[in-house]
Symmetry: C2
DNA sequence: TTGTACGCGTTATCAG
DNA sequence: CTGATAACGCGTACAA
C-alpha cells in the first residue's frame, strides 16, 4: 500500500508546463542562406564548409559551424532540397530505412522474434528504421509505395522455396529499388543476393548421432509441418540423418521411420485468439488414430522422435502423454531451434534440441547489409555466411531401454 | 522421404533468368516535362491534371493519364521535388511513417508483441511504415534523425510514469516533429496527446469480486514487479480491490495483504539468453526465506493471491509448488493480461486472469492515429478511448477451503 | 480551361 | 580558398 501511494504522489504535476501541440508550425525555417548572410559569406562557401570542410581554412569552417549552430540550422529538415540537388549529379542518399519481409505474423512465433531481435539490435543503434512486411502480401500484392519512392535502402527477407522467385523478381523490377542489396536470412540462397544460412544437414547429423550414442536404433522423424507450411531444407536435414546412420553402419531405410503429423490431426484448444500460436500451444490429438500413434503401434521398436522444431516437439510430447508414454523414460525427443521450452514438473526446460543462433543470424544479416550499403567499394559484392549449430542436451533424451 | 524429395525437385531452376543487380541504375528518369512534351501540353496542365483533375476536361485528364502510364512516369520517385515545391506554400506531405516507442526489448514479451500485432495489423495495410524505438534510449539519448528530417508523421508510445514527461517534452521540442499527433497506448494519459486506456480500477475490482464469490476472505497482492519496473496504475488497481472488499462489508486493511516479490528474490535459471524472458520463465525462489513464503507463514489465513500479471502468476505458482502448496486446491491465483499460459498437466492453460484487449488496443491506437493524420478538420482533436476488460475464469481459482 | 513564370534550398561546376 | 551560377522537378499564383 505504501509503495502504491508513493508512486501515485511521484506522478509529475506539471500539467501546465507540458508543451502542447500548437495550432501552426513555425513557418520560418533557417536556411543555408540565412547562415551565409549572418557570416557575411557566400552560400556556396557555407555549403562546402559543411560538406567538404577540407577545402576551407579551419577558421572559416569553425565560424560557419558556430553560426549554423547558433541560428539553429537543421540540415535534416532540408533533406528534400539536398536530394533534389544531388540527383543532378547522379548521387542518391541513404534513407536509413530497411524493409524486413517475414512469412507470417511474426509477432506470434519465437523463431521470428529472435531473428527480429537480432536485426533490431544492430539496425536501430545504427540509425536505421525498420519497415516490417508480411511476405504473403509482399508476394501477392503491390510493393508498398516506399519502394517506389526509393525510400528503402535494402531488404532482409525470409522466403519460402515457393516464394523467393516471385519476391526477388518483383523487387528487381521496381526501378526505384532495382539493384539495391537484398539479404536472404535463414531461407533460400537467391542469385544476386547475400545470405545468412545454417547447415541443415548438420542439424540432422548432430541429432541422430546423439541418439545413436544413447543406444537408440529405431528413430521416427517428422515430415510435415503442424501448420502445413512447407518444411524448409528437409532434404538436407534428412541427408544428415542418413549420414549419421551410415557412419554407424546402419541402414537408414530400415532405422529411420517418417511420420506425417500435419494440422488435420490436431484439435487446437478453443482459447482466445491471442493464445493460438504462443509458445505453449494448447493442443491435443484429435483421437486415438492420430498418425503418430498409428505409426508408433506399427513400429513398436521406435524409441526416439526427431521433431522438426521445438513447437512440434512439444506437441508430440502431448500426444505421448495422452497414451501414457513417458519422456524421456519410454521415448526420447529432440527438437530444433531452441526457441520454446518443454517444461518439466519444476517448470524448467527439459528439451534436448539443436540450437540455431537466431539472434546472431539476425545481427549478422543486419551488419552485412549495413556494410554493403556503406562501403563504396564492396557494395557490389554478394556475401554468403554459414552459421554453426549446436546440440543442447537437456532431459528429453535418455539412453534407450532396448 | 517422398515428401522431402518432392520439395527438393520443386525448387525453381531458373537461376539464369533471375534479374540480378545491375552495376548502374538507369540514369534517365521520366519527368513531368517528358509527359507534357509527349502530350503537346504545358507542364502546368499535366501537373494539375494529376493533382486536381476536377479543373480539367475529362478528356484531357484521360489523355495525360494514359501518356504518363505509357511513359512510366513515377511520381513517387520525384517526391523530393514535390516536397520542396510544396514547402513554399507551407504544405507538408505525409511520410506514411509512424514511430513506435516501447519500454523494453518488446520482442521478448507477449504483452508487447500483442500490442504490436494490433498496431501492425492496421498500419501496414494502410501503407504506413513502422519505426521501432526503445523507450529507454528514446528518453536518454538523441531522437533519431528521422524526426529531424520530419519523416515521422506520428508516434504511438507506451511510457512509464517516470518517463512520460521527458518523452513528450523532447518530442514537442523537436521543431520538425513538433505538433504532430502522439498516442499514449495503455500508459499515462498525457496532456496534448490522445490515448487508449483500460480501467485499472476495474481489473482489481473484477478479480477480487470473483475471489470473494468463491469464499476467499484473506487475499494477498503483489506490490513489486519481478523485474523491478514500476507497477503501472497500481494505486487504481488497489482502489478496485478495496472497492470490492467494501461492497462485501469487509475491511481492506485486514483482508488485503501486500507482498513484495522483487527480482532480488529470484534465481533465474542459467539458460541461454534467448530463454530468459520467454513466456515460461524458468525461475525458482532463491531459498526458503523468499518474502512470499515468509508472508504466507505470517498470514496462514491467506487463500488467494492477486498477481500483477500472468508472468508473475506463473512465478508465484512455482514458489508455491516449491513448498507443496497446490493450485487451486490450497491456493487460488489470478493473473492479469491473459498473455501467458499457466499450464496444467495436460498442457492446457489453467490461469484465471483479467484479460486485456491488447491487440484491439493496438488496432484502435493505430486507427485513431491514422484518422488524425488524414482528417483535415479533426486533426487538432485529441481523443481518449477506454477499453473494457474481462475476467476469464479458468482453473487456477477454486472455492476456498476455509 | 490552359499556359507563363517563379521559387522551394541545396549542391557541384567553373571561374576567379 | 572563395563566389557566382545553373540546375534538380515540381506545384501554384497569376495572367490569358
Amino acid at each position: 500500500m505504501l509503495e502504491a501511494e508513493l508512486i501515485l504522489v511521484k506522478k509529475p504535476m506539471h500539467d501546465q508546463e507540458v508543451p502542447v501541440r500548437q495550432a501552426k508550425r513555425d513557418p520560418r525555417h533557417v536556411t543555408l542562406r540565412d547562415v551565409a548572410r549572418q557570416c557575411g559569406m557566400s552560400l556556396t562557401t557555407v555549403s562546402r564548409a559543411l560538406n567538404h570542410p577540407e577545402f576551407h581554412k579551419e577558421e572559416t569552417v569553425e565560424r560557419i559551424l558556430s553560426v549554423a549552430l547558433e541560428l539553429g540550422y537543421n540540415p535534416a529538415y532540408h533533406d528534400s532540397a539536398r536530394r533534389l540537388s544531388l540527383r543532378r549529379h547522379g548521387i542518391e542518399l541513404l534513407n536509413h530505412q530497411i524493409a524486413l519481409v517475414f512469412p507470417q505474423d511474426f509477432a506470434y512465433s519465437n523463431y521470428f522474434r529472435l531473428l527480429f531481435a537480432g536485426i533490431w539490435d544492430v539496425l536501430t543503434p545504427a540509425g536505421f528504421g525498420l519497415v516490417l512486411l508480411k511476405s504473403s502480401s509482399f508476394v501477392s500484392s503491390q510493393l508498398p509505395v516506399s519502394f517506389a519512392r526509393g525510400e528503402i535502402d535494402g531488404v532482409i527477407m525470409h522466403v519460402t522455396p515457393s516464394d523467393w522467385y516471385a519476391a526477388i523478381t518483383k523487387l528487381r523490377e521496381e526501378s526505384n529499388f532495382g539493384p539495391r542489396p537484398v539479404m536472404s536470412l535463414l531461407s533460400n540462397s537467391i542469385p544476386g543476393c547475400s545470405s545468412v544460412e545454417v547447415d541443415a544437414r548438420c542439424h540432422g547429423y548432430l541429432a541422430v548421432k546423439h541418439l545413436l550414442g544413447l543406444g537408440h536404433r529405431a528413430i521416427m522423424y517428422q515430415i510435415k509441418h503442424i501448420d502445413m507450411q512447407p518444411l524448409w531444407h528437409i532434404s538436407e536435414r534428412v541427408a544428415g540423418y542418413q549420414q549419421a546412420m551410415q557412419e554407424h553402419g546402419l541402414d537408414p531405410a530400415i532405422h529411420l521411420i517418417p511420420v506425417d503429423i500435419g494440422a488435420a490431426y490436431w484439435e487446437i484448444a478453443n482459447e482466445p485468439k491471442q493464445h493460438h500460436l504462443l509458445s505453449a500451444l494448447p493442443a491435443v490429438p484429435r483421437s486415438d488414430d492420430h498418425p503418430l500413434l498409428v505409426q508408433l503401434r506399427r513400429h513398436p521398436e521406435v524409441t526416439a522422435v526427431l521433431a522438426h522444431n521445438d513447437a512440434s516437439a512439444i506437441l508430440i510430447r502431448h500426444v505421448l502423454d495422452f497414451i501414457g508414454i513417458r519422456v524421456p523414460e519410454d521415448m526420447s525427443i529432440i527438437g530444433v531451434d531452441d526457441t520454446d521450452p518443454m517444461l518439466d514438473a519444476e517448470g524448467r526446460n527439459m528439451l534436448t534440441t539443436v540450437r540455431l543462433p537466431l539472434e546472431e543470424a539476425g545481427r549478422l544479416a543486419a551488419r552485412e547489409l549495413i556494410r554493403q550499403l556503406t562501403d563504396k567499394d564492396e557494395s557490389q559484392q554478394e556475401s554468403r555466411h554459414f552459421l554453426p549449430t549446436e546440440l543442447i542436451v537437456r532431459g528429453s533424451t535418455a539412453p534407450s531401454r532396448r
